[in-house]
Amino acid sequence: MDDLITQITAHYNYWMVIILMMIGLYITISRGNLIKKIVGLNIFQTSVFMFYISMGKVTGGTAPILTGNPDEVYSNPLPHVLILTAIVVGIATTSLALALAVRIREAYGTIEEDELLTIERDAEAAEDKI
Amino acid sequence: MMITSNYALFLALFLPLGAAVLLAALRDMPRARDIAHVATAAITFALVLRVLSGFLAGDVAHLYLFDVMSGLPLAFAVEPLGLVFAALASGLWIVIAIYAAGYMRAAEEAHQTRFAIFFTLAIAAALGIAFSANLFTLFIFYEVLTLSTYPLVAHKGTDEARKGARTYLIILLSTSIALLFPAIIWTWLASGTLNFEPGGILQGHLDPALAPVLLALFAFGIGKAALMPFHRWLPAAMVAPAPVSALLHAVAVVKGGVFALLKISVYIFGTGYLSSTNASQWLIWVAAFSIIVPALIAITKDDLKARLAYSTISQLAYVTLGVALASQAGMIGSTLQIVMHAMAKITLFMCAGAIYVAARKTKVSDMSGLGRAMPVTFTAFLIASFSIIGLPPLGGAWSKYFLLLAAADAQQTAMIIVLGVGSLLSIAYLLPVAARALFLPAPAEMTREAPPAMLIPICATAFGCLLLFVFAHDIYGFLLNVPLLAPEVAP
């Protein structure tokens, strides 16, 4: 029992990441509102950012800036740098998704997925009749 | 001769392709186009004869183009079976080209240029099959033949024609893709080559227990051989104009199919391998089934072309039977059957076309007494019928004779009976047609014979059936050249 608890607490960062990841993915899949889907996607991506960042943390380590002290323990800076890039990609994705949502709203008058599906199904049925 | 055998072979294969372009250019000049069509046929025939005379003189033509995939070249080589088929196809092409020109005008068909172009392509593909030096090349031209005849079958553009053409294409392509194609790759993996070699290439490379399976893939994969149950395309293709039916049933398509089967059995399996492993035993029975059942169906058909179509399925199975017997007599019987049946069936289909053009009749029951108005057509029909049945003095007698010989050699008593019953059934479905037309009283409205452009080819091929009886021995002698054994084993 103690083992299990240590197991859980020692890796609590991963538990947080997994919980966030599942929440994000669930929202993306289950919500019908296009904006909410984007929010879900953002949470999902953020969980991955946290995963990388916590991975680079070294216990007792400081920020990776040279201090001159040879015994100084640094955190691994590489994952942090990678995540900077990933965050930029995430922002680009979010803004593009939002732009698309705006255009969809202009073209269809709604951003609810079920209504969009109804409209498109009607359009297909109309095409079939020709 | 002025040109070498190799060059003649090259020209025979590619002249028809060039001619197709020429025909397209002549689309606004029907007369020039038809002359060009016939001329191409004649020149091609002359070229094939040149290759033949070169072969007899010991100058075996061959042509290597390039490797399509590594080790798998597009290559052509001359051997006796292929020469017989090529001479047959190109020779009858002249006849059909003349006939088609007459038919298409008299029947007022549209798109005559398109028709001539695809016709030419189909013959080119048949020649490619005849001269192919390896199984790979054969397969390529086999597929080209299927595709180039599709527009011919669908020529009329009616719903019925579309449906028939669809059946035609789907059955032929699916059998070749689903069965023939894996069979070829299997052969390739087993023996490391696809070249047609005397004595076959599978000996020692394929487990004899698997040989029947591979043979089945080939026999059914070559849908053009119309072995039951893959025969449906043949009656379906009856919607095509008569010259196409003649092309399909006498010259290019079905003959291309059984010829491919023959070539594979001789040069891929090798008759020795087939008979020693008994791989073709089952095929004998399938062929027998395919002789009897379609003949029975043919008797029930009132539509003349449908009747002839089922007759073709039955007659083709004779060739398959010869292949399955896997002996020299069987091989010779099969080849002769290809030739004899081609000559007779082309006559029958041209007659059917002439009847349609002159009297607009397609049903056997409507043709009573028609022979009084069209004596030439129906006499030719009668002669060709006798040849199909196998009566002397007509060519068909010889092929049946050799097949009987082969069956007797193999001690297949049942097959002797099947051959006999097959002939009896062919009497039952063919003779009434001519008999009704010639001996029943004439109908009230008078019709006349079809135009001379159609009658002359009909008479020529009917006469050809007679000639073949006389010259069958020469073909027989020539076929003895077919190498059945690998060179080092031959005595």
Binding site: K37 | A165, I170, I177, P182
Partner: protein, 501 residues
């Protein structure tokens, strides 16, 4: 100077289009954006041909970005396989851009042209970058550059049909999930090895041996890439995206985007993971192969009852991707070679087919098969190109499709996998049905009343027929492509730690 360029070819391959892209948006001269994009694609094509020639005899070019040696610095690594893919991508870029001029003018608003070509060139940049880089994280970045640009150009089809917007949105959601899965996988690999250089990763994973983290990483990367390459059943984004995107975009994407994703999959499976633990091969047999088989059948089957020509082609793509994955999951040199040659062959074929669809969209105003009845008489050259491409999809001899099918069946037979042979053969028979359906409508049916259709302009016909011609040429003489594919397959074989039959 030439030597300087020759030394820096790998980076120029990516940097040239990357720099050119924003200028496409800035040029205000009429058609200026198109010209810039076209010239850029020509330059990238020239570079990739040079790279292809340089690596054809087996040499591997390793380029160190900024002079930093790997594994610290980012490495661009060019061998036979990715030089081959680079050539496919940039070559398709040139021809689709040539085609795009007339097609895009018809399908995209004039005032958006600058932005459209910017996104197009960015997409090209991303795809080239993914292919050329030897750094795993770099793959992700370029993958996202190309994907984001793709979402934008797919959405630009909204002028003809507003459904392009929802298609792009769904593609974005699915694509982002895929990319994020891929990054999670990378993170797990990084946890094990502490490196992101692919060659280094492979080395250290081999030393590491089996672990749950490695298995997780493998699974995440497989699923992530599966989404990107539209592996059945992760393909839902593809049909709508390809149907409603401008035709030039469909042609470009079908020939490149999924192909590059397959390339990445190959690279990771063989060069990075290398099948050092049995788990990796097991997953391929037990999960990927059945899905590939199902995809190749179901995709083809769904294609048979489509009326929209572009959607028909999209489902056919899913089926053909299944065929490639079958080749991959055979885990044999011959299967791999079949997959790689099919990658090229299918790219060429599908590009020409989408160009045909685009020509119909422009000249006939529709891609509905019913409304395109009798089009063979009005647009003979365009429809003839469809016949060529269609025969290649079926696998008729003398087309590239036949070559692919030959190698695929040969590879399956070598393994003795008869059921797989049957699936391959059946899926090409279904292809016969959906191709035949259109060809029959185009040639055998009379045209609907009162429709005027003219042959497509030369700028569309030429690229269309270059692709159709390629699918004939390499079908008649496949020595170049099969040699390149065989060498690329050998390269992958050598990199992995499987024992090869």
């Amino acid at each position: 100077m030439p030597q300087f360029i020759a030394q820096h070819l790998p980076i120029l391959q990516v940097i040239v289009p990357l720099i050119a892209a924003p200028f496409c948006a800035l040029i205000s001269v009429r058609n200026g954006a198109w010209w810039l994009a076209f010239v850029t694609s020509l330059v990238t094509f020239a570079i990739s041909v040079l790279l292809f020639a340089a690596t054809f005899d087996g040499e591997i070019i390793s380029y160190h970005l900024g002079g930093w040696a790997p594994p610290i610095g980012i490495e661009y690594r060019v061998d036979m396989l990715n030089a081959f893919v680079l050539t496919i991508v940039s070559g398709t870029g040139v021809l689709t851009l040539l085609y795009a001029r007339a097609s895009v003018a018809h399908e995209v608003d004039a005032k958006q042209h600058g932005l459209f070509y910017t996104a197009f060139v960015l997409c090209l940049t991303g795809l080239l970058g993914v292919t050329i880089t030897g750094d795993a994280f770099n793959v992700f970045v370029f993958l996202e550059i190309s994907s984001l640009a793709t979402y934008a150009i797919v959405a630009s089809g909204a002028k003809t049909d507003r459904r392009a917007l929802t298609a792009a949105y769904n593609y974005l959601i699915m694509g982002t999930i895929g990319a994020t899965f891929f990054v999670i996988g990378l993170g797990l690999l990084y946890m094990i090895t502490g490196t992101l250089n692919m060659a280094d990763l492979a080395q250290r994973l081999l030393e590491h041996g089996d672990s749950r983290t490695l298995r997780m990483g493998y699974a995440f990367i497989l699923v992530g890439l599966g989404l990107k390459l539209a592996m059945f059943p992760l393909h839902q984004w593809l049909p709508n995206a390809y149907t409603y995107a401008p035709s030039a975009v469909s042609a470009f994407l079908s020939a490149t985007a999924t192909k590059v994703a397959i390339y990445v999959l190959l690279r990771f499976l063989f060069s990075v993971f290398g099948f050092s633990i049995p788990f990796e091969a097991d997953i391929l047999f037990l999960v990927v192969l059945p899905l590939a088989l199902a995809g190749s059948l179901i995709g083809a089957y769904i294609a048979t009852y489509q009326d929209n020509l572009k959607r028909l082609l999209a489902y056919s793509s899913i089926s053909q991707i299944g065929a490639m994955l079958i080749g991959v999951s055979m885990l044999s040199a011959s299967g791999l070679m079949a997959a790689i040659i099919h990658l090229f062959n299918h790219a060429v074929t599908k590009a020409s087919l989408y160009m045909v669809a685009g020509a119909y969209a422009k000249e006939a105003g529709t891609v509905s098969i019913r409304e395109l009845r009798g089009v063979g008489r009005d647009m003979p050259f365009t429809t003839a190109a469809f016949v060529v491409g269609g025969m290649s999809l079926i696998g008729i001899p003398l087309t590239v499709g036949f070559i692919s099918k030959w190698y695929l069946v040969e590879a399956a037979l070598m393994r003795g996998w008869w059921p797989v042979v049957i699936v391959i053969v059946v899926s090409s028979l279904i292809a016969l049905i959906y191709v035949g359906k259109f060809i029959e409508a185009a040639y055998m049916h009379p045209a609907p009343q009162g429709i005027i259709r003219r042959e497509a302009p030369l700028t569309m016909l030429i690229p269309m027929w270059i692709f159709a011609g390629l699918s004939l040429f390499f079908g008649i003489n496949s020595s170049l492509t099969s040699e390149a594919a065989a060498r690329a397959a050998q390269g992958l074989v050598a990199a992995s730690s499987l024992i090869w039959q």
